[in-house]
């Protein structure tokens, strides 16, 4: 399937840069570190503003519009407010754990951006195990969340942290299995190879894989409908109840940086990365990332929250079997039908995905929920 060209070409001559642009190992590393930090911080600020305005428009109201024209300076006002607050540390909490928790939670998210291609060859490190590196590194931030819950000496925080850990660990497995489907079609774990293999975006080849990955990713980053961690109407703020000042700022940044990371990963794996017809590739990348962000915000403003035991049941009983079946079917297709034209395969996959979703919904059953006391 990867040998057929169908007009989704890779654009201008800027499409691929040499692997150690602009020249020399340390210069390449330094330039890209600066690019990644600037990109992450700027985009996170734009995301904060965009989310608040978009949710406002979904709810028939304006978003913030007092700080600067159209409220553009609102995230900067938020940042200044967070920095100026008093840094309170609970007296009986574990001080070292409390202090280290935001750092342990935030740094792995930044590490993910080292392997995401902004353009052909424009990435910090072209590892040939790119996607495995991402899955491994993103699991480390869970430890940070647990440290935050434990070091706060607060029952609410501890309950929130425990829920989050259970949820994150459970949803990593369907996420990994959905990624394997993409890897089977592309034939390589490296992200540049995956993007280069997408003459037709993989979302058409793997609709079920996209759905599973998207839902599992939403659960990984603790967004609605899986945001029991920060359920405002139940426990006051979950594991970051006791944080204030810059530590809270780091948690806040971490949440939006994770959204950005997931959007970037989905773009690279399923939507074709930086490939597109006319515009420069970086612009296509940004357009796709913002489209994914729009969908995430849209889901947040509509759907209610799921209870924690139902979240776990959904992961283990619904997503995991579907992910396994998806991997099996993709493997069969790769082995048995490698030289068939793509369009019949696409229709076959869509039909299988719809059929599986309908069939599994009929068999899916959650527990009652009430415990005899």
């Amino acid at each position: 399937m990867t040998t057929v060209e169908t007009g989704f070409n890779s654009g201008s001559s800027l499409a691929s840069l040499p692997p150690d642009w602009p020249g020399g190992y340390w210069l390449h590393w330094g330039v890209f570190v600066i690019i990644i930090l600037a990109f992450v911080f700027l985009t996170v600020l734009i995301f904060i503003w965009l989310e608040r305005r978009l949710i406002g428009r979904f709810q028939v109201r304006l978003g913030p519009n007092r700080a600067g024209p159209f409220g553009i300076l609102q995230p900067i006002a938020d940042a200044i407010k967070i920095l100026l607050k008093e840094d309170i540390v609970p007296a009986k909490g574990d001080k070292l754990v409390f202090w280290l928790a935001p750092v342990v939670a935030f740094v792995p998210v930044l590490l993910i951006f080292a392997v995401i291609p902004f353009q052909g060859g424009a990435l910090l490190a072209d590892l040939n195990i790119g996607i495995l590196y991402i899955v491994a590194v993103s699991s480390v931030s869970v430890i940070g969340i647990f440290m935050a819950g434990w070091g706060s000496n607060n029952k609410y925080s501890l309950i929130g942290a425990m829920r989050t850990i259970a949820q994150v660990i459970s949803y990593e497995i369907p996420m990994g299995l959905a990624i394997i489907g993409v890897v089977l079609i592309a034939g390589s774990l490296s992200l540049t190879d995956i993007v280069a293999a997408q003459n037709i975006p993989f979302i058409l080849f793997q609709p079920l894989g996209f759905l599973i990955f998207f839902i599992a990713a939403l659960a990984e980053i603790n967004r609605t409908p899986f945001d029991v961690m920060e359920a405002d109407s139940e426990l006051v703020a979950g594991f970051h109840t006791e944080y204030s000042g810059m530590k809270f700022g780091l948690f806040y940044l971490m949440e939006y940086a994770e959204v950005l990371a997931i959007s970037a990963i989905v773009t690279t794996l399923f939507l074709g990365g930086w490939r597109g017809p006319v515009l420069p590739p970086v612009l296509w990348f940004l357009i796709k990332v913002f489209a994914m962000f729009f969908i995430i915000v849209w889901v947040r403003s509509t759907i209610p929250r799921v209870r924690i035991d139902q979240i776990m049941g959904f992961a283990w009983k619904f997503l995991l079997p579907l992910a396994l079946i998806n991997m099996f079917i993709t493997g069969l297709e790769v082995i048995l039908l490698p030289e068939v034209l793509p369009w019949p395969i696409i229709f076959l996959n869509l039909a299988i995905a719809a059929g599986l979703v309908v069939l599994w919904s009929k068999f899916f059953r959650l527990g009652g929920g009430r415990v005899e006391v």
């Binding site: 979904f58 028939v60 109201r61 759907i303």
Partner: protein, 164 residues
Amino acid sequence: MKFERFGLGILKGLALTLKHLFRRPITTQYPEERLTVSRRIRGNELIWSEEKCTGCATCAKSCPQGAIEIVTSISEDNRYIVEKFEVDFGYCIFCGFCVEACPYEALFLGYDYERSKYRRQDLVGAKEDLLVSDQKQASGYGHPEVETTLPRQTLLVERDKVRK
């Protein structure tokens, strides 16, 4: 518990939210744009007309809170002179009973709602503060002749144009 509709219910909700994205927001930017209040608003002020008042204190007797205090004395031609007419707006609940009870139509409620004060002593309105004057607009609650002079209220039913 089963997934009865295969995820279609969620998709319907998402479609509705997307439709709302294209509606005009109904927010009013408060200090710059103000909506016109109703003609009969029981606003935040009491306006007292000294010529019509005879000092009968029916208003003070009908107040549920006892917020009106009237002290009178008798003049030469056997009428009351009102020496002290004080209303404590910290106690007043703006129910409008005093306006309805006055037999000589000497009392009006205000039209304004933005009269906050910084100190609690400023809330007590003494005789001079409550007099009728051109700066204060009276509301039409209980006074139909004032009601006809006031502008029409803005209604959200008319501002929110839904495309049907």
